[in-house]
Symmetry: C2
Subunit: 404 residues, 2 copies
């Protein structure tokens, strides 16, 4: 393999375990003799075009391990989506710094950036190996059984719903929790893993894989409330009507769009407030509460799946191994074998780039407001060993004396 430097960057939304992938790659890369230096680019592609690099060869192993266990993107991230000209600038910088191995930890957009850069390098006959290291809490990368970052976020969401279910049981009413996930409902569906007892919430789950109708929503809520005297509801931020229009955009005057043209969904309580208002007005129920889980679900310290940690670490290591032993560019993908282990493969960048996976039909119940046991089987091993469990009193009732 070509002797030279390694460059690693992190893109898109941070996760609880994205630094495991970074550190996995850094520590592994530092072992190979053809590697002179291991650089980290600050704030993803924007740090590359600005040449904002840290020399991670000069970082202690001890501190790298501590950073690995810290959520958030330690190098900083970016929402920039490079076009062809931008990718040309990236390549210029890679050449100037003799970068021969380029690892980008991110989602399908990051994969697409690598694809373009790699094409340009080939045209210029610049020997470059580009590896996409998978990461996203949305779990929406194709080919992959699941994506690092998702299991820990799913654990947070399941734990959160387990807790709000207890709260709602103590003070009955309606509770709406809004969960991240623009096109893929995996994270919202994870709320189901917070259930234990027969009447535990979430009692209704609304996913972007199904069209949302407010009238159906209200009759669903009414049915549960009449039956249980309470109702806990998990709603994906990406729910939309039959025409694909986002429910939240029906309310907002000024729609904020990011560099990818996506409507801003997180970082505001509008959808929860809209739905709770509809319930109050139409069903006449008084205690109706809504929370938007927001940024807590992807960065919370102390709620991490150890399976997720392990796999995030390994995809970082595998990036190096595929690069240095096989000399191939591509995207690391995770495949489930048995119940439960995984293996890692290298797929072509083009196979992952810019594509979005959503929940399979077999994971969603027929009525569209619940998950199936298939999904529970799918998610359970990813959450790791220490999911907290809720217990109830089971003492007998005391006979009434006054019986008024």
């Amino acid at each position: 393999m070509k002797r030279g430097n390694v460059l690693i960057a992190q893109g898109g939304g941070p996760t609880a375990v994205i630094n495991q992938s970074l550190i996995g790659a850094v520590l592994e890369a530092r072992k190979f003799p053809q590697v002179d230096r291991v650089y980290g680019a600050l704030h993803g592609v924007s740090g590359i075009v600005n040449e904002d690099f840290l020399d991670l060869t000069q970082e202690t192993t001890h501190n790298l391990e501590l950073v690995a266990a810290t959520p958030g993107s330690a190098l900083g991230s970016t929402r920039e989506k490079p076009d062809k000209a931008y990718c040309g600038e990236i390549l210029k910088v890679l050449i100037a710094h003799n970068i021969r191995y380029f690892f980008y930890i991110g989602g399908n957009d990051s994969s697409d950036t690598l694809r373009i850069v790699q094409e340009f390098a080939k045209k210029k006959s610049y020997e470059l190996i580009s590896i996409h290291v998978p990461k996203t809490i949305d779990n929406d990368l194709v080919i992959n059984d699941h994506t690092p970052g998702f299991p820990s976020a799913a654990k947070f969401v399941a734990s959160a719903f387990s807790g709000v279910n207890l709260d709602n049981r103590a003070l009955p009413g309606i509770y709406v929790g809004i969960v991240m996930g623009r096109h893929a409902g995996f994270l919202t569906a994870a709320s189901a893993l917070g259930r234990k007892h027969r009447d535990d919430g979430p009692h209704l789950i609304y996913l972007p894989e199904r069209n949302f109708k407010i009238s159906k929503f209200l009759s669903d809520v009414k049915e549960v409330y009449n039956r249980l005297g309470r109702c806990v509801i998990a709603v994906s931020e990406g729910i939309h009507d039959t025409k694909g229009n986002l429910i939240v955009s029906k309310l907002q005057k000024d729609i904020e769009r990011d560099a990818h043209g996506n409507v801003q969904l997180s970082g505001m309580g509008a959808l929860a407030d809209l739905l709770t208002e509809k319930i109050k007005t139409n069903l006449g129920i008084k205690r109706v509460r809504g929370d938007t889980f927001g940024y807590l679900q992807r960065s919370f310290l102390g709620v991490v799946s150890e399976v997720d940690q392990r796999e995030a670490r390994e995809v970082g290591e595998k990036a190096c191994q595929f690069a240095f032993w096989n000399g191939a560019s591509g995207s690391i993908t995770i495949h489930r074998c048995g119940d439960y282990s995984v293996e890692y493969r290298l797929d072509p960048l083009v196979a992952v780039a810019g594509k979005t996976k959503t929940m399979a039909d077999e994971f969603i119940s027929k009525d569209g407001t619940n998950v199936t046991n298939e999904f529970r089987m799918y998610l359970t091993p990813l959450l790791g060993s220490n999911m907290p469990e809720a217990f109830r009193l089971r003492a007998p009732f005391v006979e009434k004396k006054l019986k008024k």
Copy 2:
């Protein structure tokens, strides 16, 4: 002491450790020979007037221990605030069931209910011992150094801000996090304990102990943003203007009030959306996000301070010990000795009932947007031993080659 039955109830908002107090009292009460049965009232005072009692004498010790470690009020709670007639009804039920020991786990309203019931019992010469067991995430009970439930909620808030600070550092912008606390800012102030590095957020903290001015808020945010390129802000849901009008109520048309006449604050994203909108409009900053922590902060499974667990357990036990050994009614209070241990005392119900403690001036920085080291010293021992810590890369920069 009079032979008879024990009745335990839980009132107000659930906490992460309120069941420790319940189980502490149940297990201790079951040891005393003058106790025939230990009953639990469902949903606080409303379960008492309806005679909805569980016989907790017939619950396994094993399951009681599991329930103790579960957040939420296992008996169910209530927001009802009994008037004198209601308290009269409570006493009738206590007499009918030969309840001689009445323990109510709750905040200052629960303490007030006990005070009235106890007065009525005295008038009727009915031998009754009433003990208030302290609980509130707001930490607003007078006399007490702190209140069970607060430390675990504080740990959640500190952890959450530590995480969103990492997220905000990776993708810079403005982040506003709304924290519970109507009159007392303790929980919002706890966000400061999530900081570690010099430039960590929250960079600004707004408490209900200080008047809130939107113009001052905007200039504060601008100053931090200009200096750091980002700003993380912790805001109490109870912030108000100089006239005492809630900031959130400036926005809402329909204000919801509870049985205590309080404006509904949690369970909606209005305040966060109002503040982020103001920042966007007035400061022209694009990436502005707001989250309302909502119900997650008082019920989250897996985020509990072991100091809080221990003390919540002990106040439940102490209720029994004061009742059975001293035969006195009152409110259990927590007092700090040294650095750090506590002792428990029994104060008159009237000393705690209906009163609200707020943050002392020495806990709030002069400019009103930060906490002091006094506060950090106060809160640190309450959070327990396993606060997660964030680590950063400290590698040197690489020299630029293209220097564009």
